[in-house]
Subunit: 222 residues, 2 copies
């Protein structure tokens, strides 16, 4: 007899990719435990042998669920959507779904990987800020254009429940744009969608998210 | 009355992300036309105003289908899967699907974005080879581990029809590993899966793929 325990999310508090999964778990009202993995302590707990068995990419998030451990945040969101359709993250129509996914992919493969921790360390202290700004600005300029040119997305984004897209843009803006003082103020739609997003108040993490917001603003924004 | 013409794929012959979509279209026996976008001619046709309207990220592929233009290769594959289930790219079981997707995401967000054309240009001529080798080796080391530790993937990969995973690994190895002479020879599973993949012979592009293979081998491999 197989006993399926509560899902366990391997997570770090500043990992925007982990936030996506936490928000989805909360939205779908799936109880879970968090196993914190510090990305900085001792050079990063994600690089230890034990965690490499969890995720060979040595990154969070990873989600242990249904007796399996899954990696890659968009993959995990899709799995949750397929196995827990309650409170859907995606529209039902295939074209609208594709519109949501394309923005998710622009963020998850066109922006985030270029300015995550492991890449910034490799780029080096001296160049990392300029590097991150470059790719974040490029990516969000495209996202802004996708949002403004797509009636489907524009009409879907403000709706509740939030889409995966809203989570991705919101979380990424929250965490990394703050860090690297990009040109978000010129980007009306994205900024508004992200900051106007009601997801803060639909998760258990509202206080933490708000705190992070303030910390980021104080530390990094001019 | 809406008339849906043949799908049009915006594509470049050396774009591995475009290959994924071409292979899927061919596998699913969907007739389509190719609109070539040279990523090098005149600094890159993808950066012209006309193409920016097609894809604000200024990248290929983009697929015009069902009166809509979709971007981001994994998004397009998923759309094809949802609207044209004939000859599925993914297993039916949600966990097996997740296993396939996680390898796709490791490649599409953990490897490819770090060594695509626009990033290598930004990194600069002097450092680009070392840069690309670093991320390709890191990524495929993880893919190799995911393959060897997952009975689901290992048993699914060699099956026909090929999965999205097989396409991604195959295409990426074919194109970029060749370029950057990574340590693929040490990576038994990935290399074998990629080279052993029957997809060459299931597409209309067999001759071109084989030619590319030979060119890459002659130019880059020691």
């Amino acid at each position: 007899m197989s006993v399926m325990g509560k899902p366990v999310l391997y997570s770090y508090w500043r990992s925007s990719c982990s936030w996506r999964v936490r928000i989805a778990l909360n939205l779908k009202e799936i109880p879970y435990d968090i196993k914190p993995v510090s990305l900085v302590k001792g050079g990063g707990e994600q690089h230890c042998n034990e965690f490499r068995e969890v995720n060979p990419m040595e990154q969070v998030p990873a989600l242990h669920i249904d007796n399996h451990t899954l990696i890659e945040s968009l993959n995990i969101l899709q799995y949750l959507e397929e196995t827990r359709p309650h409170r859907p993250l995606m529209p039902a129509d295939p074209v609208k779904r594709a519109r949501v996914r394309e923005i998710c992919e622009v963020i998850a493969s066109g922006i985030q990987p270029l300015q995550n921790l492991v890449v910034l360390i490799y780029v080096g202290e001296e160049r990392k800020k300029e590097w991150a700004q470059h790719w974040i600005t490029r990516g969000f300029t495209a996202v802004e254009k996708l949002l403004s040119s797509s009636a489907v997305i524009s009409s879907f984004l403000p709706a509740v429940p939030p889409t995966i897209t809203k989570q991705s843009t919101g979380v990424l803006k929250e965490l990394n744009i703050g860090n690297f003082t990009s040109h978000m103020e010129e980007m009306g739609n994205v900024g508004e969608q992200a900051y106007g997003a009601p997801y803060f108040f639909e998760t258990n993490d509202a206080a933490l998210f708000k705190l992070l917001d303030i910390i980021n603003a104080l530390l990094y924004l001019s």
